[in-house]
Amino acid sequence: MDSPAANAAFAKQINIKFSLLSDMNKKMLKEYGILKGYDVQSESYQWAQRANIVIDKNGIVQHIEEGDSAVNPNNALSVCTDLHKKQTAK
């Protein structure tokens, strides 16, 4: 879990315009089931799996992608685009 300070430095470095969020108490990760346990040299650690999740305006989960494929945001992006199209067409 990166701290807000580390995130701020990263955001500045790569010049991004969206918020980077920190789950310092790992509460959200647990609730979403994406905090995983790992054993490294007989010590246990917990960190998050990579995941892309799209939640619509009504708070309903519309897309979940976990693991290595979630490094690529394109699937989640197309879900967002479709959602936006549907909502603006109404």
């Binding site: 990166d2 807000p4 300070a5 580390a6 995130n7 701020a8 990263f10 955001a11 918020s19 980077l20 969020l21 920190s22 789950d23 310092m24 509460k27 959200m28 990760l29 647990k30 609730e31 979403y32 089931g33 994406i34 905090l35 995983k36 346990g37 917990q46 960190w47 998050a48 799996q49 990579r50 995941a51 892309n52 999740i53 799209v54 939640i55 619509d56 305006k57 009504n58 708070g59 309903i60 989960v61 519309q62 897309h63 979940i64 979630a70 945001p73 989640a76 992006l77 967002c80 959602l83 936006h84 909502q87």
Partner: protein, 77 residues
């Protein structure tokens, strides 16, 4: 008669084993909740890189939310 009793016992066994599973899941809370498409997303409060709290419920009725959980963002991996 024996067959009927066996069926009844089996039925009786189902609720208790379900309780047992629920208990074991409670003991190990890590990564047991898996969200599915169509579920209501649990609200969360997270700290932004500007040290402001951001809640999922802030966006309800306003915006769609794209969450990218990206561990080890600073690394090349």
């Amino acid at each position: 008669m024996n067959r009927i009793l066996a069926a009844a016992l089996l039925l009786a066994a189902v609720p208790s084993s379900a309780v047992f599973t629920a208990n074991t899941q409670q003991a190990d809370q890590v990564a047991k909740v898996s969200l599915k498409v169509g579920d209501a997303a649990p609200d969360f409060t997270l700290l932004s890189d500007q040290w402001k709290t951001v809640k999922l419920s802030d966006f309800k009725g306003k915006k769609n939310v794209f969450l990218a959980v990206y561990v080890l963002a600073f690394t090349g991996g």
